[in-house]
Symmetry: C2
Subunit: 400 residues, 2 copies
């Protein structure tokens, strides 16, 4: 297939682009490289030394003979996006090109507004570009499991049959997102469903869980292809951050009780899910929702798994409970369905000791690049302004 | 109370500001006058000759001795909004200051993006301004009944108890909005609920039905206080538009079968509902949703009521069924709850013959101002670009 990966220089996007290219698809990448800019803004960097996109793509071509075309474009600029869609003529567009950090969106008003405008406008532009230029193209959009929040009932895949006062209907599953970022994904999901309804677009809205890991078969081929591995409090997802903390002897920072339970998946499953979604496109007018994760864990369970794995490597580590900087339930019911991608053929990579070992080995290998000051949470959901850049981590405190 | 009315120069805003001022509240108006600009853009005007805001306010002061302070500010500019909140020190903010036309949002990509960015950013700015500057202030936000769409179950007021697989929870009522405008209100509602949760703000999200009428006791005091009366296909709400069509002998334009059923209310009830919401503020952290309408009608029922009322005035009029330019169910179940404002003391003005007579008399009185070319629907939901400004109504056609 001809597949265009928006946000293909990012964490999930890069792994996906290489995987699809390796599987024989024609792949193009669109990125504006703002993700690299946010690292400069926040004073953080990926644990792994990633190379500039042109260098990565040249190396991939040398290793595989596969050409990945790249476009430097910001999808919030419609004319740029339209010219890419015209040039690339994709059968499927995978849309990763959004600001994807909850803490980043909670820094202050400007970051909240930026996150929502950037994500909503980029997605609206994409809907219009597909409608006007490539109406049969399948849009595979990255949403998040965080759109659902933590309801006290089972979470279905996008829609729920509701019986009420003797009548029934299948309706969008109610959303209770937990940050201005998660809200932007809920806004996108509503816009996406509407565009499918009025214009007959084909869409798959992947409500992805928390991704962990960094190695896929493709990036493992050469160090120059290495993927991002974010461990800081803003962009670091929890399992990756715990691995780094263990590697440098920093306590594992559990927010509150640690009973917060979420869906998780290995990045090797992310890339396969994306291919499965592309190979099995939605029908015209259909807005499918798949819950894209493979296992549920609480944060404390993950911390205990890492503590054990670290001990096996001779790295003793403590678990430190911090006041939760987020506003969320610290213990709650959580049971989310996730069978649709399995039905399409996904064979999950479950979290296991060998993966934890491998993750921790990466963390140890690059531990001289770790900045411990970026591990501590400095963005408090209860405040409207978090002067993160000017605070030293050691001096950080907040009132609940 | 000290009440700040954002969008106080508009249709509902102006009536509300005068009503509250007449009831003895300290009222200030914030407006950027973009609603008047949209009339120029679209080549339409209100049936009634409205005067500039300073002239209106001067007249109101002369008639009543009541001073309404006015601020010229765009709430998407945070610094402007913040300086207003600091100066006005409101106990309640009523937020009408959004782009409120579904067809306007469906003209093309630019209008869709404009509507969502304008509405979402203005509302986000307001949430941050209240949090930072006036945290105890009660936010009374205008949403719309259109957020719910037309589910096949009873519509509750904002939240629904869902029983599922042996468990239950009270969750936000699922939303199925029918235009990029209605979507913007759904985005707002999610942002609002989140801000109440994390910051303990007080909010009332009024899901208002379709408003009709133009005369309130206050604007009736002098012709210089007259309110907007929009009848064009973009900003004209359906009952007002039918009255004008009847007055000038134009067929009543029913979209499709006309079975589309919605909640409606008299503008005299709008203003009272706003006062009731202000006088009974939400608790800190509470995001209440009230469905603000008094009666349900189908579009065809309204057309038949107008046809009868017009005949009684010696104005014979036909009902014309046009292909529905919107994507919506033309017949459907509809039963929306609306008891919470009644419980607070609302005494509805139901739609009656005398009101229809009075509306039609206004339409007849100003019928020399009617531009018949603006009555016909020219914005088709199925198209991504509607070159409305350049089309003659007579030449308008669209494929379904």
């Amino acid at each position: 297939m001809n597949i265009c990966v928006l946000g293909g220089d990012g964490y999930c996007g890069w792994a996906t682009a290489l995987y699809l290219s390796g599987r024989g698809h024609t792949v193009s990448i669109v990125d504006n490289f703002v993700r690299r800019q946010w690292d400069y803004e926040l004073g953080v960097q990926t644990l792994t030394p990633i190379r500039p996109l042109p260098e990565r793509l040249k190396l991939w071509r040398e290793l595989t003979g596969n050409e990945i075309q790249s476009f430097s474009a910001d999808i919030t600029d419609y004319e740029s996006l339209a010219s890419v869609i015209k040039a690339a003529e994709p059968d499927a567009v995978i849309h990763f090109a959004e600001q994807r950090s909850a803490p980043y969106s909670m820094i202050d008003r400007k970051h909240a507004v930026y996150t929502q405008v950037n994500n909503v406008v980029g997605n609206l532009n994409l809907l219009f570009a597909i409608r006007e230029l490539r109406p049969d193209c399948h849009l595979v959009k990255l949403g998040t499991m965080g759109e659902y929040g933590t309801p006290n009932i089972d979470i279905e895949e996008g829609y729920i049959k509701i019986e009420h006062n003797g009548r029934s209907d299948v309706l969008p599953f109610p959303k209770q997102p937990g940050s201005f970022y998660h809200l932007s994904k809920v806004h996108d999901s509503h816009n996406l469903a509407f565009a499918c309804k009025i214009w007959g677009l084909r869409a798959t809205d992947l409500h992805q869980g928390v991704v962990y890991g960094t190695m896929t078969d493709e990036v493992a081929r050469h160090e120059g292809l290495i993927n991002r591995f974010d461990y800081d409090e803003v962009f670091g997802t929890v399992l990756n951050r715990f691995c780094v903390q263990a590697a440098v002897g920093h306590p594992l920072t559990v927010y509150g009780e640690g009973g917060q339970t979420r869906g998780f998946l290995d990045i090797r499953d992310t890339v396969r899910c994306l291919e499965l979604a592309c190979l099995n496109p939605a029908a015209p007018g259909e807005c499918r929702v798949y819950n894209q994760f493979t296992e549920q864990f609480s944060v404390l369970e993950l911390a205990q798994l890492i503590k054990t794995a670290a001990a096996n490597l001779g790295l003793p580590v403590e678990i430190q409970h911090l006041p939760d900087p987020r506003v969320e339930s610290e213990t709650h019911y959580y049971n989310a369905k996730h069978s649709k991608l399995i039905d399409l053929g996904l064979k999950p990579h479950f979290l296991c000791d060998s993966l934890l070992d491998s993750l921790m080995n990466i963390a140890v290998r690059y531990s001289d690049r770790v900045d411990r000051d970026t591990l501590h949470p400095m963005i408090n959901w209860r405040k409207a302004r978090n002067d993160r850049q000017r605070s030293a981590a050691a001096a950080f405190s907040f009132a609940r």
